[in-house]
Symmetry: C2
């Protein structure tokens, strides 16, 4: 038996096919343009959340405008194809999300070199349920990121 994870995140299917991504776009009546294909291609090959500027930097220069990336990420987020993360440094980060996955998961970030580790653990459901009930809230979810010193930066 394999260790089973209580949530199935995007970690399960490493890379999504570009074709699957574009068909998902087409299905939503969105156009497959040069910039969009390029952005998806970059996200597809990157395992951790990327800022708009980082995506921009990876693009062959002149490929597309920064504003276009902002607009693309907004759209992809609305379609649920991308998940937004916040490492508290003032820049949004985005990660591709598998189809049918809500992308909810967490990270461990080095406060010195910014190395990122994907974390499988989540805040215990039972405690969250208690917090929600105690306060009469519904639809409760959480934002959670871990910070510390990575092995390299401890030396």
């Amino acid at each position: 038996m394999k260790t089973s994870c209580q949530h199935r995140h995007r970690h399960s299917h490493k890379k999504q096919e570009l074709a699957a991504l574009t068909s998902r776009l087409r299905r939503e009546a969105r156009k497959i343009t040069g910039p969009r294909a390029a952005i998806l291609e970059i996200l597809r090959h990157h395992p951790h959340p990327l800022t708009n500027k980082e995506i921009f930097a990876q693009l062959p220069k002149g490929e597309c405008d920064l504003a276009t990336i902002y607009r693309a990420m907004q759209m992809l987020e609305k379609l649920g194809m991308v998940k937004r993360f916040d490492f508290g440094d003032g820049a949004a980060r985005f990660e591709l999300v598998g189809e049918g996955d809500d992308g909810h998961h967490h990270h461990l970030v080095c406060t010195r070199c910014a190395e990122v580790v994907e974390i499988a653990e989540c805040f215990p459901e039972e405690i969250e349920r208690r917090i929600a009930n105690t306060n009469g809230f519904t639809g409760v979810t959480h934002r959670l990121e871990f910070f510390g010193l990575c092995p390299e930066c401890q030396k």
Copy 2:
């Protein structure tokens, strides 16, 4: 016997004396000025994190400049008298921290009306320790906030 909380936050001592706060400033060789006293007075009476703009709005108009508030909060944070929180809306929020307390705690925020509830629960230490060990990180801590619909907004 009273229900004991595993961490001792600022929730224990409801309001700190203004005198205690100013003496804490003096001890650090900081000047007690009009703006600073006014800011502390506002924080002292507010149970939840406030943005700089919110503090500014509560100040008798003309009392002090917005930039002064930004500078004051930076200083207070550095002295550990105030804790910074991030509800993901792009504006930092600050809450007064009791002496000897690091202020670590969490909130439950209504996504519709922005009501805030102080939360006593924390991410389980044992799981956090495991996450740190597994990845060789040290000094691991976390940022965690809950979001949902408050009782009022469900109607």
